[in-house]
């Protein structure tokens, strides 16, 4: 999962803004659907009105044709009559279908159907009466009953028309209200998104600002630390130099007067002054390392190791059996790598001092997708239960009388290796030697 470093409030703001955007999308979609639906409803109403008009026309024409027939007796007019009735019936069927979701219109259509049927039956009677008596038929067609039926039909149809017009304008009004509602919601959501994003921007900006301030503070603290180590390096060393120097002068000029015990005591003073000097130097090296930036270059490890062995043994020849195996080159900081190997090799030399046949093996093998380098000796080793103390500053697993040292070397080595995103570890057994392994995260060249 992605790790979040952002301010919680900013995250909340982002989430709300996103939700609002989703809501906006939903509203737009819904509004669009409404728009389409109300347009369809509009079409529908016009269609219904059209059918009402047609029905009206048909019923008027049916009445006209029948009257003509009664006067002329032209039997072809009966066909025309039937055709109009059929048309009226078709329009009726359409109206029935179109208004099936509107109860009040259905009721009106029912009453239209009732009146229409009565009218049709009366017409049938008129036509059959016509075959018997022309005058009788003429009386019937002009009868109050027939006229009333015509008026009723017209009134039902016009009430249907009114209803449909009312519905149409109602829908228009509803549509307008809906549009207004949509516009209000849309702009409210828009403005709130904008405000939230502005808020989030301010939050992020502020957190950047506070980070910059924190960085500046760290820089100041680092500078102070640098000034501190600088004065430690100067002021702590000066008195030590005098202690050591004048003790030496004392020994040189009055050594014979002081006798054996006096000289032994002076030696102790000098040795400790030197040791303190070494401690200060090592500690300064260690603290200086934290401030150093890495300069990468390709390093030929095999050559480097050979050089270091030569440097370390030139003043202090030892009969070590060296086993230097092939090693891959590496990309790292050259000075720091030299320090790492010098420390590891000089440790191996130091801790094999009391072994009859010292063997030191140096090599590498591929593991973890990179190259692991190792220095293995058959010296005094150490107890693995103390291995966590091994790489800590001023932590030692042997006393100073046995093996000299300040306890900074391996801490320095570890710091260098972790600066290279690498890892160092050790395996050892008491009196059976120690092996140090390390790898850098940088891929082997």
């Amino acid at each position: 999962m992605m790790k979040l470093y952002i301010d919680k409030r900013a995250l909340l703001g982002f989430i709300i803004a996103l939700l609002i955007l989703v809501l906006l999308g939903y509203f737009s979609y819904r509004n669009n659907n409404h728009f389409i639906a109300s347009r369809e409803l509009g079409f529908h109403a016009t269609e219904v009105l059209n059918h009402i008009e047609q029905t009206q026309t048909n019923t008027v024409r049916v009445e006209e044709i029948l009257a003509k027939y009664i006067i002329t007796g032209d039997s072809t007019l009966l066909n025309a009559y039937n055709a109009e009735v059929k048309k009226a019936a078709q329009h009726y069927a359409s109206l029935l279908e179109f208004t099936k979701d509107n109860k009040s219109q259905q009721i009106r259509i029912d009453s239209f159907k009732l009146v229409g049927r009565r009218k049709f039956e009366l017409h049938k009677k008129i036509i059959s009466a016509y075959t018997v008596s022309k005058s009788q038929a003429g009386l019937m067609i002009n009868s109050i009953e027939n006229k009333n039926l015509s008026v009723k039909i017209t009134s039902v149809l016009s009430s249907m028309r009114d209803e449909e017009n009312r519905l149409l304008s109602q829908r228009l009004r509803d549509g307008q209200i809906e549009i207004k509602y949509f516009q209000t919601t849309f702009s409210t959501l828009m403005i709130s998104t904008f405000l939230i994003l502005v808020g989030v921007f301010i939050l992020i900006n502020n957190s950047f600002k506070s980070r910059l301030i924190a960085e500046e503070k760290i820089r100041v603290v680092n500078q102070e630390l640098e000034a501190f180590t600088y004065s430690v390096s100067h002021d702590l060393r000066a008195p030590l130099r005098s202690i050591r120097g004048f003790t030496e002068v004392l020994q040189e000029e009055f050594g014979t007067v002081l006798g054996k015990e006096g000289n032994r005591l002076l030696n102790i003073v000098m040795r400790n002054a030197s040791r303190m000097g070494q401690l200060i130097d090592d500690l300064l090296d260690f603290s200086r390392l934290g401030r150093k930036t890495l300069t990468f270059s390709k390093i030929q490890i095999h050559q480097l190791v050979t050089e270091i062995i030569q440097e370390l043994t030139v003043h202090e020849p030892r009969n070590v059996k060296w086993e230097i195996l092939h090693m891959n080159d590496i990309r790292a900081d050259a000075n720091m790598m030299r320090q790492v190997w010098t420390n590891l090799i000089s440790n191996a030399l130091k801790y094999t001092k009391k072994v009859d046949v010292p063997i030191i093996e140096i090599g590498s093998f591929p593991k973890y997708g990179t190259t692991v380098y190792y220095v293995k000796d058959n010296g005094v080793g150490f107890d693995m239960k103390y291995s966590d103390k091994l790489f800590k500053v001023f932590q030692r697993l042997h006393n100073n009388q046995e093996f000299e040292g300040t306890g900074v070397g391996l801490a320095l080595v570890q710091r260098i290796i972790s600066k290279h995103n690498g890892k160092i570890w050790a395996e050892a057994r008491v009196n059976e030697g120690a092996s140090f392994f390390f790898y850098l995260n940088n891929p082997t060249v």
Binding site: S233, R237, A238, L240, R241, R244, A273
Partner: protein, 140 residues
């Protein structure tokens, strides 16, 4: 201060360090015409005083001094057309890179970190004095 010829000028404010340095130089028989000035201001007066054409053959300069520090003294010497030829060796307690870099930028001739161990200091002084007094002949 009208010595016949000052060979080494030691500018060092710490009397103990100065004594050790002079002892070391004496031991190597290099302290015959040595002048020790413990105040940097005074040292500058000596070097830049009116009518003084008697330049030392070598200046040993402590880096950390009150009032005017070694870097500033070095700047004055190496900024002067006549005196910039005098070899200057910086003596210091630290191996702070920034000091070393700055000193070399200003044209120091050598840079020595005063070791805690006195015998090492003797070696250093030995090599130093031999080279600058015997091998290296500054132009007149």
């Amino acid at each position: 201060m009208n010595d016949p010829q000052v060979e080494i000028l030691l500018i060092e404010d710490n009397p103990d360090d100065a004594e050790l340095a002079i002892r070391a130089l004496k031991k190597k028989k290099l302290a015959n015409n040595l002048l020790h000035i413990s105040d940097s201001e005074e040292a500058l007066e000596y070097l830049f005083g009116e009518g003084n054409n008697n330049y030392p053959k070598l200046i040993l300069l402590d880096l950390k001094m009150p009032k005017i520090d070694g870097i500033q003294v070095l700047k004055r010497i190496k900024g002067d057309p006549d005196k910039k030829v005098i070899p200057v060796v910086m003596l210091t307690s630290s191996k702070e890179e920034k000091d070393i870099v700055e000193s070399y930028n200003l044209g120091v001739n050598a840079y020595i970190v005063k070791p805690v161990q006195f015998d090492k200091f003797l070696d250093v002084v030995d090599q130093l004095g031999m080279f600058w007094l015997l091998i290296n002949q500054p132009p007149k």
